[in-house]
């Protein structure tokens, strides 16, 4: 599909890719690791970057979801993915999983310091929430902002 971005300027006609992915988040997170809470309490840098990365990932096929943008965790955290970005001098690592066809659900907001998650139990907690969420989708909401 070709969509003229501005009908008055055909010279600027470009090819626009559709949004492929939708995002949800666990809506009952606590004040320290809840996705919405950490986002809303974060700086504009954190908020703008998080929104930007989701906008980008939403337009990519699954095989293009890779580092340095997102990383599949291994070992005891297998089944989880961490979004990777830096904001406010901190490595932000919101954790989530692929919850459906082209749907990704964020479970909790972790950060990384010295190669370790903060909180240290983040993957373990995320896996527990993942089990809850898989059993009851109503524990999640669609992300609160538009991707296009």
């Amino acid at each position: 599909m070709r969509w003229p971005v501005n009908g008055n300027h055909r010279k600027n006609e470009i090819f626009i890719l559709p949004v492929l992915w939708s995002f949800r988040y666990y809506a009952h997170g606590d004040r320290k690791t809840g996705i919405r809470h950490c986002h809303d309490e974060g700086s504009k840098k954190l908020q703008g970057t998080f929104r930007s990365r989701l906008t980008t990932l939403a337009g990519l096929d699954w095989d293009e979801w890779r580092e340095p943008y997102i990383k599949a965790l291994s070992g005891s955290a297998r089944g989880l993915h961490e979004l990777r970005f830096k904001a406010d001098g901190v490595q932000q690592r919101p954790l989530g999983f692929v919850s459906g066809i082209r749907e990704f659900t964020f479970l909790l907001w972790a950060t990384e310091k010295g190669g370790r998650f903060v909180p240290l139990s983040a993957p373990e907690t995320a896996l527990r929430i993942k089990d809850e969420v898989r059993g009851d989708r109503s524990l999640t909401n669609a992300v609160w902002f538009a991707l296009e």
Partner: protein, 167 residues
């Protein structure tokens, strides 16, 4: 897709906060540059390692790794020129209208993305073909050249013939 536009009412209203908008724009551009460099490097007919690109730029591999990191935001215009030159591609920088920008950010350098290095024969052949078509049609052509955004025909010309313009 929002009724023919690459943005919705909600999307633009949520970006009404200037500080948030500035951060969003900055990250989109940093991400795009990082993805672009990797996509060009990994393009099948190049398939360069980071070390190979570094060698062509006269930089160590860790510099290329940093350039492909969307969190690294200190790339200079000179570095961008050197990256483009290493691929033998031109560089284009613009400060567009928002309408255009919202469309451009959806045009990601994905896996089938490909850009050809300078090839005088190919470019000259395109010019010759365009000239031949114009002569054959015996019409004055008012139009614009739209670069191809995916593999296939290199480009197309949107034509507005002298007749259709007159009409």
């Amino acid at each position: 897709m929002q009724y023919g536009l690459p943005w919705s009412e909600e999307f633009v209203r949520e970006l009404a906060d200037k500080e948030l908008r500035d951060e969003f724009v900055a990250d989109q551009i940093r991400t795009r540059v990082a993805m672009l460099i990797r996509a060009l490097r990994e393009q099948p007919d190049r398939d360069w390692s980071q070390s190979e690109l570094g060698r062509r730029m006269g930089k160590p591999q860790n510099v290329i790794s940093r350039l492909e990191d969307p969190d690294y935001g200190k790339m200079s215009l000179q570095t961008l020129l050197e990256v483009a030159a290493a691929f033998d591609l031109p560089l284009w920088i613009d400060i567009p209208e928002w309408e255009d920008w919202f469309g451009k950010i959806r045009d990601l350098p994905k896996k089938n993305f490909a850009r050809s290095s300078y090839d005088a024969d190919r470019l000259a052949a395109e010019a010759a073909a365009a000239k031949a078509a114009a002569v054959a049609s015996k019409e004055i052509r008012f139009g614009s050249y739209v670069p191809a955004t995916s593999p296939g025909p290199r480009a197309k010309i949107i034509e507005f013939s002298s007749r259709s313009r007159a009409a």
